[in-house]
């Protein structure tokens, strides 16, 4: 079980969190013309990287904040976590 540092609550066990996928995905702006490719990349296409990955976690059984974590997908090492408005 991973040990994750919620930027708001501190170190908590993984079972308090929900995983939210790749944090680098940006939703296309509202009311903008979006090509099929661009939209599919947003909705479906993910890289499934091996190694360092910046991803979203949601402290569901805690403060209910979404935040970013930099994790190695192969070793589970978590290097850093940050609030959504912080750089990671």
């Amino acid at each position: 079980m991973l040990y994750i540092k919620c930027p708001f609550c501190g170190m908590r066990s993984q079972n308090e969190f929900a995983y939210g996928g790749d944090a680098s995905v940006k939703r296309p702006e509202l009311n903008k013309d979006v090509s099929d490719k661009e939209w599919d990349d947003f909705v479906y296409n993910r890289k499934s990287l091996r190694g360092k990955h910046i991803e979203l976690w949601h402290h569901v059984s805690g403060c209910r904040q979404w935040f970013k974590a930099q994790r190695d997908t192969a070793t589970h090492e978590i290097f850093k976590t940050a609030m959504m408005n912080e750089e990671i």
């Binding site: 991973l2 040990y3 296309p28 939209w39 949601h58 979404w66 070793t75 589970h76 959504m84």
Partner: protein, 998 residues
Amino acid sequence: MSQDFRIKEKGYINRNKIINFKFNGKNYTGYEGDTLASALLANGIHLVGRSFKYHRPRGFFAAGVDEPNAKLQVQLNGHSEPNVNATEIELVEGISATSQNCWPSVEFDVGAINNLLQKFFPAGFYYKTFMWPKSFWYKIYEPFIRKAAGLGIASTKKDTERYEHKFEYCDLLVTGSGPAGLASAYAAAKSGAKVILAEDKHRFGGSLLMDDVSIDNLSGKDWADKIISELREMPNVIVKNRSQVFGYYDHNMLVMFERTGDHLEKKSEFTPRQRLWYIRCKEVILSTGSIERPIVFGNNDTPGVMLSSGAKEYMKVYGVLVGRKPIIFTNNDSAYETAIEFKNNGVDPLILDTRKEQSSDLINDAKNKGIKIKFNHAVIKADGYKKVKSAIIGELSEDKTTYKNTSSVECDCICVSGFWTPSVHLASQSGNKLKFDKEIDAFVPDKSKQEEITVGAANGNFTLHDTLNAGFNAGSKVSKKLNNKDVDIQIPNVTEKKHKTHDKFWCAPLPKNIKAKRFVDFQNDVSVTDIEIALREGYRSIEHVKRYTTLGMATDQGRTSNLNGLQLVSNIENKIVPEVGHTTFRPPFTPVTIGTIVGREVGKHFMPTRLTPMHNWHIKNNAVFVDAGAWKRPRYYKIGNETMLEAATREAKNVRDKVGICDVTTLGKIDVKGPDAAEFLNRVYTNAWMKLPVGKARYGVMLREDGMVMDDGTTTRISEHHYHMTTTTAQAANVLSHLEYYLQIVWPELNVNVVSTTEQWAGAALAGPKSRDVLAKLFPNINVSNESLPFMGYIEGDLFGVPARIFRISFSGELAYEINVQSDYGLYMWEKMMEIGKEFGIQPYGTEALSTLRIEMGHVAGPELDGRTIPYDVSLDGMVSKKKDFIGKRSLSKIAFNEANRQKIVGLVPVDRKTSIPEGSHLVVDKNAKLPNPKLGHVSSSCWSVENNNPFSLAIIKDGKNMIGKKLFAVSPLKNKSIEVEVISSHYVDHEGKRVRS
């Protein structure tokens, strides 16, 4: 027989307390402090079971977790547990054990015929023999294997024991209380670190209990006792015996299994039998010690053959002789200690040492004591069926592949030692890649992967001096890292005997004229020949060899077999062991009971139960409940002998005719607040929200970004910047996370907050043509006329002193209201409504009636909104704004979603107007078509229409728009039904939706 093999005055057992127990129906006695194994051996019992494949007689092979044979069925306090390791279970009064895998008895076992048929059971025999013909599998092979492989019997009774889970945090966890563990725990604890020291066995000290050493002029055991009592005095230390750390997971989370009650003769109601500890620690010191490695020889599985360390432990700790005519068969010095211990107890052993004649402290000691030693000798084969009677021994040739001469020697036990294997399981589980240490011919931990250090024998350190040093150093290093404190500890003086190098001899060659099986893995009956066959048949990867032969795959995880298997493969392949590699170590290190893993999460504690404030009223009124997630909801209220269908029909009809009341507390409720709330809702829902006035509700549909409907519900504008959103019961949690995602990540600029208020409000739906009459009496001060409180209107009122929210919304399709009050007043509200509604014929209705009402109205719910439907599929086209953008809108323009023959919701009635259509039925044109019969769609919801008094279903079918009026078949292979159905509109009742507005 009464403990004939017990040595006077030896061991750490309590001779003042005699314990009675049973084995295979016979009564025996042992002492407090015995294990089941030591007590049986004290009574001269070696034969404890039959082997897995060949049903060969098997005896005790070890004294601890390394035991591969002695797995017993144990009965205690009316419970029966299979596969209990006799070397690990402590003797308690009344315990009864039986051998497994034998029929009719361990002495005479019919299955032993397999032993004579052994050429039919070679490596891979499951794969080869039982693959053909296929039709034989279920009727012949599978029952045969099951019966033959009967490793104990799982109880079918409810486990009434109590099991617990515990979460603990510490600076340092030390696994194992041998010299390395004690030293490191002590050093770290002295600096003030929070330490947990875990010992698997009942007694602390590990090898110190057995080895002939002294530390600061104390015996090993006395020193261990001294350290333990000091540690116990420290408030920052938790010392645990009977506790096995069996799993090492990510981020230094270790899991430990504590036997809290198994050793107690009587325990209180609340004493758990076993406890699972989740330990999150900053640092781990692995001091798991080592396990003796056997040497493989002919019939090495005969009862009476055991590890030399086991024999020593039985003598030293339990005061039990495992034989009176022992052969000690060794490739190293450590077995000499066993021989000397035998001699000290008046028994004359014969040592066979595979090494050339040499001298060392121990060898000289043995010689001086007059122990007979034959160097350059090996045991070729043990003789005796149920117990060793003699051994064929041989003098080894120069290259050790043949013998110069052989002879037979009488004996009653063979104690074997092939040097030591570090217990690296936990280190490996942590992610540590192991490295092969040529000095000791075994794997040891390499670079730490997590915050872990391995010390002592587990790290290949086999002298006490080095082990203690490494332990104290590791403890100090950790405390320095944790507290930045130096601890000043005097490393004690150690007296121990120096050992000579071991011999690389692990498998006695078998001369052509001697026939015998040589076992590598006892628990899974894997022999040298099996491994040879696997290699001959082309298996190369050690992982494949393992699976093909099942080497090391039994519950003992190959503790005594892995390295010998690797050595054998490397010899045959002419490779060195590290090139062969090793298989993966996985948790649990030792078997863990299911009860412990489950803990207290049994019965009604399996998952949380959510009850509405009206729950007790429902019980009193004969509600039959259904699980809706964690909620209990009334499914129907049973009157007399009604069936569910009868009750649901009565309840639904009462809503259509008069008035009904339904507990809707379980609906998800979310407060959406802030100046940008309308804008946010406008983006979340498919329809327009910018112009909803205060005091009005609106139905909304929300999508996922892929265009699929996520949820639906009504949202009401309570005040300028305050909206009350409702979700379905099932999606409440997901919707909240979804909203938070968009507010926190995608549109943080919106000034909106969301919070769940599901628990804060109790809700009751009041539905039916008479509902307004009831409402008027409930709120005499409010004008509830159609003009004043129209459909989708909202008003706040006073319900006999309780503030209430009144929503005019409808799920049933009738004139209806939903009333919310603070949860604490839910029952009060409900009882008032029942009381006032009485004169209007009010009746409660459950989820069955609720479904009936919505299905015949064609209102979609969970079965239609199953994550595979877009709004157009379920007739929600009118809900989709063309003007504004919203979550998932872009996906709706996908080509597939706009094809002319796109799936669509329809209604179905059986052509005979009688036969109910099972939910989940497939819709096909021709029920007799060749398989695979092309499927047009499926039946999502079914009910008995109370309005039309015949079955009615909703279905989602391809080209639904053009199917109206056609006849199809609803086929349910599960229920073996095929029903001719007519496709009609999904709105079966009140097409124009007049009633809700009446």
